[in-house]
Amino acid sequence: MAGGTIVIGVFGCVAYFFLSNLILDTLLPPRGADAGRNIARAAQIRPWLFLLPAVLLLAVYLVYPVFVSVWYSFHDSTGQTYVGFDNYSWLVSDSKFRESMRNNLLWLLVVPAASTFFGLIAAALTDRIRWGNFAKAMIFMPMAISFVGASVIWKFIYDYRGDGQTEIGMLNAIWVSLGGQPQTWLTLEPGNSFMLMIVLIWIQTGFAMVILSAALRGIPEETVEAAILDGASPLQIFARIKVPQIWGTIAVVWTTITITVLKVFDIVLAMTNGQWGTQVLANLMFDWMFRGNDTGRASVVALVIMLMVTPIMIWNIRNARKEMR
């Protein structure tokens, strides 16, 4: 059954493009008496045949929801009754929301910085050695692992046995061998939020490394050679000559990871479900949507995430337009 639906789904799509273009070519044949006029008119219509499915999908799946969410944010939990700014005033007084905001800001400070930093180090190191490509692949690998899979991997590291049993979690094993008492790392505030951040840093470092490594290799040789002639040490060359030349790329990496951080949800859901002071906005929204069954409050939280993304969105659009000119 599933196989059949797959075929229909994909085939329907192919059929649309073939048929619509076939119809256009039949109605306005590029030959015969009116060939010139037909070609011109077909050229006006055809872009929209090409664009129609994309524009429709984008409009329905990404633009329309923004407006509907704003509408829901002014309505009660079922989306029926207009309640004015009730959801907004609930939001500012809600302690879980404040906790989420605090954690999200913490995530925004730590994760992009740490991922970019480790990525830069990894890029600088692996570009200098013969087995660099292998090292890169290993550091890049977590990118392919799902956030839930990564959560399992790291929860195993934070595992706690206690009661005099052998610790099988790596962190507690190391901690105990250094003379500490085993800890339930995921319930210890405020450190537990950092335990979750480590998972995302682990995943995103590879991304930062790949982009920054390409940028480092794109630096003009002359600048480095000039610095060497002036007697700069390798560390000085890296910090004073190379890094300043790739600030633009670093900013790109930073903003891309920032967006990922704002949407982070799976890791928190799978590891702590927002308990013990680890709640974040995306998971708070999910909570109100599924467990709270409150479209009004869930929509307000979603709008806050949207609002935090907006500056980056505007910055991206401005840059893209500059580039097109």
Binding site: L125, I139, R321, E323
Partner: protein, 375 residues
Amino acid sequence: MDNIAGTKSSLVWAVHLATAALVLLWVLPTIGLLVSSFRDRDQITTSGWWRSLFPAEQNIVYRAGDADTQRQDGPLWVIDGNVFDGAGGEVTAFGVNSRAPDAFAPGAEADLKDGVKLAVQANGDYRLTAPAQFEGRSPRIFVSSVTPPRFTLDNYRRVMFAEGLGRAFLNTMTVTIPATIIPILIAAFAAYALAWMEFPGRALLIAAVVGLLVVPLQMALIPLLKLHNQLGIGKEYIGIWLAHSGFGLPLAIYLLRNYMVGLPREIIESARVDGATDFQIFLKIILPLSFPALASFAIFQFLWTWNDLLVATVFLGNNPDQLVMTGLLRELMGSKGGEWEILAASAFVSIAVPLIVFFAMQKYLVRGLLAGSVK
């Protein structure tokens, strides 16, 4: 960079060591879980995975065989058996109560009350003897033992068949394949229009695509779920295909348009002069030439839909027919929190396909990343 004057060999060594440390730090977490997924479940809980190649020291509390397994041997009543139940291991010490669990060396004979005697051999064989018939519960035997490393495929067998992961694997495939192909098709046409066709509003559309790149999914969930429910595709595969296609489109269009714009103008112009329509140019020239960009996006979208939890949770049910692997993994984390052999094996089944794709197509993934990060 070896030829740089002033590069000291100590620095080269530092680079090698630092890289090795970094790589180790990054792969150890995954290796830990991978090794654990092949270990015997008793051994996982009694020793860390880093000791998996060494014999595991274990303390077992074993209850001797029931009174009805006893037999008569001359004047004595005997219960015997093996504390490892045939699984193998070596007894280093044993005892008869929890206060002194290692009071006796293997081969020694311990006196219990009423003339009952217990002997445990190094290989785990025990022999319980008494002058009178045994009644009631048999005594417990406390054993310190060393068991050899045991590796097994049982964990994988169990999760694939008993825990429903096999079915979830198929569900994930059903989501992923169309959710990868459909947006590629749609985006390729749109990207061509945005790159090579003249029409009013083109610049505006491109700007919109760039803007939509970062719209958070959270924004779209509630309105779309309501819409899908009204259309009657609330918990259907077609719904999640459309959702994934919609969410993946901005990146697809952006990547493909950037690539197609870079193709040489002369090829397209000369084809137009020869009387080819845009549809023919697209199909016969642009599509084959754009293969690297198509591959890049295909990998992105594949990894993203395969690894996705949020969209699947919202747009599909959690019945066995629709539960995807990430969803099942999350459920298992809740219900089998301490059973690491189950979690580890399940996680690796769900990670295996993306990892294969990743290592096989890394080149395209890197290329796509470089093209896709907004400059």
